[in-house]
């Protein structure tokens, strides 16, 4: 975006969160994406979400695949370990990392090419395994780094900047995530930070596979008339089913149910997601009706955003594997090596 280095000195009066970190402590290097790229807005939302959640930056591990979206982890959480892995395979690397240390927060960042095309298999399996993570797809419908080819989420009939028409059916990652057993499924829009930040915060608080599809216009290759992933199209056709607030456990929670339009969901860490329903008929705990709702709006060309499904009682992969509470990477010789006496008994059994 710009090649001017960010000043390292913080304004002394910058507000601090409960851990004493300023918002600047959650930033990363300067973005090298195009000016106006939706992905930069998502990075900004991630920075804000983690700042507001009072998470120590180094307790987050950020992982990505290959593509414009997968470059973004460099641009936020500069004090976190990051891993820019191989194309479409971030989910397996993240799964392994999550197995090794259950105490960190895992943020997977991917794109529509990375997750819906080359990485569709790994996308599917990481969700069905219930890996405790936040999986964000920055979805612009095109390949940016290789200059404008269609991805598998591009709408049928949409035209590329060069005039080519996409003849293939699009993959709706949100519908797929629901079918695959993700226990937190949401869609946001990079241009709507007010909705995206609380979605990210709620996803972090969720235990299990949390998936957020973020429509993120590509200013270079997919922001033209005729594109269903342009700023203009999404703004005009955005059908938000709810707005939400995320309140961490320690914040005082004023319980009031003025009408049927507000619904509270308690997350695993005790935090509360308060849904302000815009469409009163929408029920995020009912997966079947959520899928029908999404399909019927998709048929009308509408992009449904908001928290689309959540299972507050979900279990994660570590629960399924019944692993010890101590991270596996912290176990030592005494925990792991049976020793020579045990080996003598093994030998005896093989005679």
């Amino acid at each position: 975006m710009t090649y001017l280095a960010k000043p390292k000195i913080h304004h002394p009066a910058l507000p601090k969160n409960a851990l004493g970190y300023t918002r600047r402590d959650y930033e990363g290097a300067i973005s090298t994406l195009c000016a106006g790229c939706g992905h930069d807005s998502i990075s900004a939302a991630i920075i804000q979400a983690f700042y507001e959640l009072d998470v120590a930056p180094h307790r987050v591990a950020k992982l990505s695949g290959i593509g414009c979206s997968s470059k973004t982890p460099t641009y936020f959480l500069g004090n976190s370990h990051g891993f820019n892995s191989v194309h479409g395979r971030m989910p397996s690397v993240l799964t392994g990392a999550a197995l090794a240390n259950r105490d960190l927060i895992y943020l997977g960042v991917s794109g529509d090419g990375d997750s819906a095309s080359i990485g569709l298999g790994q996308f599917a399996h990481v969700l069905r395994r219930g890996v405790n993570m936040v999986y964000v797809v920055e979805n612009n419908g095109v390949y940016g780094l290789t200059k404008g080819q269609f991805s598998a989420t591009a709408d049928k009939g949409s035209k590329s900047k060069r005039g080519a028409t996409n003849n293939d059916e699009p993959i709706d990652l949100v519908l797929l995530a629901l079918a695959l057993g993700a226990t937190f499924v949401a869609r946001g829009f990079s241009g709507d930070k007010a909705q995206l930040v609380p979605l990210l915060k709620a996803a972090v608080a969720h235990r299990g596979a949390a998936f957020i599809d973020v429509v993120s216009p590509c200013v270079a290759f997919n922001n033209h008339p005729g594109s269903t992933k342009s700023y203009d199209y999404v703004r005009e056709h955005n059908e938000a089913v709810n707005r939400l607030d995320f309140m961490p456990e320690r914040a005082p929670i004023a319980v009031d149910y003025p009408d049927g339009s507000v619904r509270d969901v308690v997350m695993h860490d005790g935090g509360l997601v308060r849904l302000h329903k815009i469409d009163a008929a929408y029920d995020p705990s009912d997966k079947v009706s959520a899928m029908a709702y999404l399909e019927s709006h998709r048929a009308r060309g509408e992009v449904v955003t908001g928290l689309l499904y959540v299972d507050p009682d979900s279990r994660d992969m570590h629960a399924a594997l019944s692993t010890v509470d101590k991270p596996l990477n912290a176990l030592g010789d005494a925990d792991l090596v049976p020793g020579s006496a045990a080996l003598a008994a093994v030998n005896a059994a093989f005679r």
Binding site: N84, R89, G96, L321, T323, L328, D333, G339, L343
Partner: protein
């Protein structure tokens, strides 16, 4: 029987082959046969020969009874237990002249189905079982135990040893114990009543087994992974490696449960494919856990891209490659050593990897544990190269050993205390001159030590760059690291021939089983070879020195393209003319007979004779 052919008469030195139908429950009875002989103190070398099939296709179990302790196949069959009508003709043809044919005589067979020079031993197994059992399943399963009983009488195997094995196997299941014992004696009594027992082939009690154990390499390698501190295993089923991952699960159930919480000190994931398997291993190892995958050649092919990442991003990963017949699906249930080059140079670009080459299940255990120390120390993928012959066959090996003073070597990991003390952290900075940088685990320190891991080029401080000099600097350091690896991997075993000689032989892995026997046979033919067994790649400097010290060196390996020879020529700058390949790649394990014949013929061409013979103008070669 042809009166001119004398029936074979051998004690503790013969080959019995069981021809069975896959899925008929014969494996358990055949295993008992081998173990009962071992319990009598007589060594065996046993091999399953099986098709890629679950039920119906032919399968064989070959037991070489060999008091001398040779671990390879001999070739040929002295007693065929022909339980499979589909393969009858081929099985009968395979019997050595003077040998024996054991079969189910319930249905009469025409004389043309038999051989004049082979003693036929018909036992009406089906009739015996039908008369004794009413349940169809029991009739089938106990048929195997009935033939075991008959064989115990024919070969003079102590039935008490078999019964002891029964009681160990069916501890607490008295009903099963009794019915097995009954079936055993049905067969035994029939044989004693109808044949002159024992045959010319017989077992005589000895003390030649000692404290050795009978174990397969996959089981031993998995146990090695437990002792090596592996906590994360990610795998995808593929023959012949699946039992390694399943065995790891078994050992973890035994050794890795947390007594207080009942939770597991390990995580095993059956991944969706091999790409995901190695991805998980890389993710877990990046995050500080010891992680491995088990696979075979096709799986390694699928892992190529990730292996380049692990090499370049310097992430410890352990891979057990249980090699099978390739390329493509090839011969999934047959053995080969044909993944050597695939693994040594896995992935695109300039890559080289550390390979460990175990020769038997005992080394599978040893290298299985060592691989994790090497991977952490070197921060790179380490391959443990088994093959089907080592991985899936039970071998008689010295007992597994462990030094309780040994501790895991986690390599160069910078801690929060190191970072607080102000130590300079550059993820790709060569502080010690050995090419190995320091790493930090994610989550170590609030302000220092974090870095970005990527496959693209970076500078010494892990900052993204596309600058040529930074790339070259990094690639040169990786070469220095490989030099360091050379010093850390297991050294080759070297042994001089009994007579001074100008010829040598090099081999690796499961070839050793046949090699040891062949060297004795060759010496009998006055062909004396200095010998070297290579145990790891990168190659130790003593390897080119060994070649340089000899006029001719035979390289014995189990693949078509002489992959070890290629690697030797490529890595050590050896003149290819000095190396003569002996190649065996039909999918069966190499035999001493094959090696002796091949080397014998070639040695005569090269005039490889002992130096003393040349001096004395001794026998012509």
């Amino acid at each position: 029987m042809d009166a001119r052919v004398k029936p074979l008469a051998r004690v503790n030195d013969f080959v019995v082959k069981f021809a069975n139908v896959n899925g008929s429950g014969s494996a358990s009875a055949n295993g008992l046969f081998a173990r009962a002989i071992l319990r009598m103190g007589v060594p065996v070398a046993a091999r399953n020969i099986f098709p890629s099939n679950i039920q119906g296709l032919p399968t064989w179990y070959e037991v070489r009874v060999v008091e001398a302790g040779w671990r390879g196949r001999r070739g040929g069959v002295d007693l065929m237990v022909a339980m499979n009508p589909q393969t009858w003709d081929k099985d009968v043809a395979e019997i050595e002249s003077g040998g024996y044919l054991f079969y189910d005589s319930t249905k009469p067979l025409p004389p043309a189905k038999f051989r004049e020079d082979v003693t036929a031993l018909g036992v009406p197994l089906t009739a015996i079982c039908n008369a004794t059992y009413s349940d169809a399943r029991q009739r089938q399963l106990f048929k195997n135990i009935v033939y075991l009983g008959a064989l115990s009488a024919l070969l003079d195997i102590d039935p008490a040893e078999i019964e002891r094995l029964f009681s160990e196997q069916y501890r607490g299941k008295e009903a099963l114990l009794d019915s097995n014992r009954r079936a055993l004696h049905l067969g035994r009594d029939y044989a004693l009543a109808n044949f002159a027992c024992p045959l010319g082939l017989s077992i005589a009690r000895r003390d030649a087994v000692g404290d050795r154990i009978f174990i397969d390499g996959n089981d031993a390698a998995a146990l090695g992974a437990v002792y090596g501190g592996a906590t994360v295993a990610a795998w995808y089923p593929i023959t012949p490696s699946s039992s390694l991952a399943e065995s790891f699960a078994k050992w973890c159930r035994k050794f890795r449960g947390d007594r207080e919480s009942g939770h597991n000190r390990h995580a095993i994931v059956q991944a969706e494919d091999e790409l995901a398997s190695i991805g998980m291993v890389i993710g877990a190892a990046w995050n500080g856990a010891r992680a491995f995958t088990a696979t075979s050649g096709p799986g390694i092919s699928l892992m190529q891209e990730f292996l380049g990442l692990a090499y370049f991003a310097e992430i410890p990963a352990v891979l057990f490659d249980v090699q099978r017949g390739s390329p493509s699906t090839g011969m999934p249930t047959r053995t080969q050593q044909a993944d050597l080059l695939l693994c040594a140079y896995a992935s695109h670009g300039d890559t080289k990897h550390v390979l460990l080459l175990p020769e038997d299940p005992r080394e599978c255990f040893e290298f299985g544990a060592l691989a994790f120390d090497l991977a952490d120390r070197l921060q790179t993928p380490v391959f443990v190269m088994l093959d089907l012959d080592i991985g899936m066959q039970d071998w008689l090996v010295p007992p597994l050993a462990w030094d309780d003073a040994r501790r895991m070597d986690r390599g160069k990991v910078m801690t929060a205390a190191d970072l607080d003390a102000g130590r300079d952290f550059g993820r790709y900075l060569d502080v010690d001159g050995d090419g190995i940088p320091y790493r930090t685990y994610p989550g170590t320190h609030a302000a220092r030590g974090s870095y970005f891991t990527r496959g693209t080029t970076k500078d010494r401080y892990a900052r993204y760059t596309e600058e040529g000099p930074a790339y070259v600097d990094n690639m040169q350091r990786l070469l220095r690291k490989f030099e360091t690896a050379k010093r850390l991997v297991p050294k080759p075993f070297v042994e001089r021939a009994a007579e001074p000689t100008t010829a040598g032989v090099i081999w690796f892995g499961s070839t050793g089983a046949a090699m040891a026997e062949s060297l004795v046979e060759l010496a009998r033919e006055d062909i004396h070879l200095d010998r070297m067994r290579i145990r790891a790649f990168p190659f130790d400097d003593s390897i080119p020195e060994f070649v340089a010290a000899h006029e001719h060196v035979f390289v014995v390996e189990q693949n078509r393209d002489a992959q070890l020879k290629m690697l030797l020529v490529n890595e050590c700058g050896i003149d290819p003319a000095k190396l003569t390949s002996v190649l065996h790649y039909d999918g069966t394990p190499i035999t001493a007979r094959f090696i002796t014949r091949e080397i014998g013929e070639k040695a005569r061409l090269y005039n490889v004779t002992p130096l003393r013979s040349r001096k004395t103008g001794g026998r012509a070669a």
